[in-house]
Subunit: 199 residues, 2 copies
């Protein structure tokens, strides 16, 4: 017996198709060549369906990226096993692996290019993806500082940028490989600057 | 008495006009809207003069950026006063000030966007601008390590990325102000991780 039609489920399916089509097209032809028409055709929906939900192709692409992984994969949920080094290594290895992934490289570069000209898209990226990740990391470092695992005057805000800035810089400018070993070296470099000093 | 015509000087003048026109147009209308025709018109040269010297508008823009400052301003000549902290602060303050400068922001963002799609332009940026700056900083840190100002096992390669990655990340994603105080905090955070440990 066929299920009765369910508009919410149909909407969810259309949304999923649109996001998948956007990711696939961006990887295939590059962001500049993607059009809302092409996304609609690939997703099997009307152009007006896309414009009902998103103001621009940049906004669709951005949702496609946000939609991609779980909180853990995106680093917004930070592990807290009590072993700070291991937890930070897990986060940085995930960040580095995501940047190194050829399947998402083109999409990530398209967004990076897009936000240079589009400040509101940049703001959305920061608010929805970057800030949560950076704040979760700052909270984790702050708890470690409170229990004496880090120096009392450790600069947690700067430490977060020391962790996330370099892999992004390396990826963006293609200056070196993005591997676990690199993630671990970054964590080691940052943690040694935060360590409690001998009395 | 008029000076005799000097082709080398005329070429240099034309080159200068083209680079200035490129910077000005990019700031005015954004990189995407700049055309080689518009650069030629603004510079008062023929389009073919531009194509004789550069393969693309991206290449012209890039030379305009490289041409902008002295070695010291670009950070490729690192001060060596013997005071490592002061020298690194000087470099990082210059980097941060350059990124924060509204006069060059649009050009820098245009190049950053452009190199996401154009790998050969990215390679040129890294080879001509970024590598020299990073290597000069690595050399300075290495000398400090050799004379015992840093720990014998200090990870100099990672330290360079810890210095340059965060300001670029902050600028690119517009996550915070770019001021002297920030540069100094970065230097402090990185140096404390490199310090020789008490025996």
């Amino acid at each position: 017996m066929a299920a009765p039609p369910d508009p919410a489920r149909r909407s969810a399916r259309a949304r999923r198709s649109i996001l998948d089509a956007t990711t696939a097209l961006t990887a295939e032809v590059g962001y500049a060549a993607v059009t809302v028409e092409a996304i609609a055709a690939r997703a099997g929906v009307g152009k007006q369906t896309i414009y009902r939900w998103w103001p621009s192709k940049g906004a669709v692409l951005f949702d496609a990226i946000l939609d991609r992984g779980s909180d853990a994969e995106r680093g917004t949920a930070l592990p807290d096993t009590g072993d700070l080094r291991a937890d930070l290594q897990a986060v940085l290895r995930a960040v580095v692996a995501e940047l190194a992934d050829p399947a998402t490289d083109r999409t990530n570069r398209a967004v990076t290019a897009e936000i240079q000209a589009d400040e509101s898209l940049a703001g959305e990226l920061v608010t929805r993806l970057l800030r949560p990740q950076m704040e979760a990391t700052a909270d984790r470092l702050d708890r470690a500082r409170q229990v004496g695992q880090l120096a009392p005057d450790a600069d947690v805000e700067v430490a977060v940028e020391l962790l996330f800035g370099p892999p992004f810089h390396r990826w963006l400018l293609r200056t070196g490989p993005l591997e676990d070993e690199y993630a671990d070296r970054l964590v080691a470099g940052v943690l040694s600057g935060l360590a409690p000093r001998a009395p």
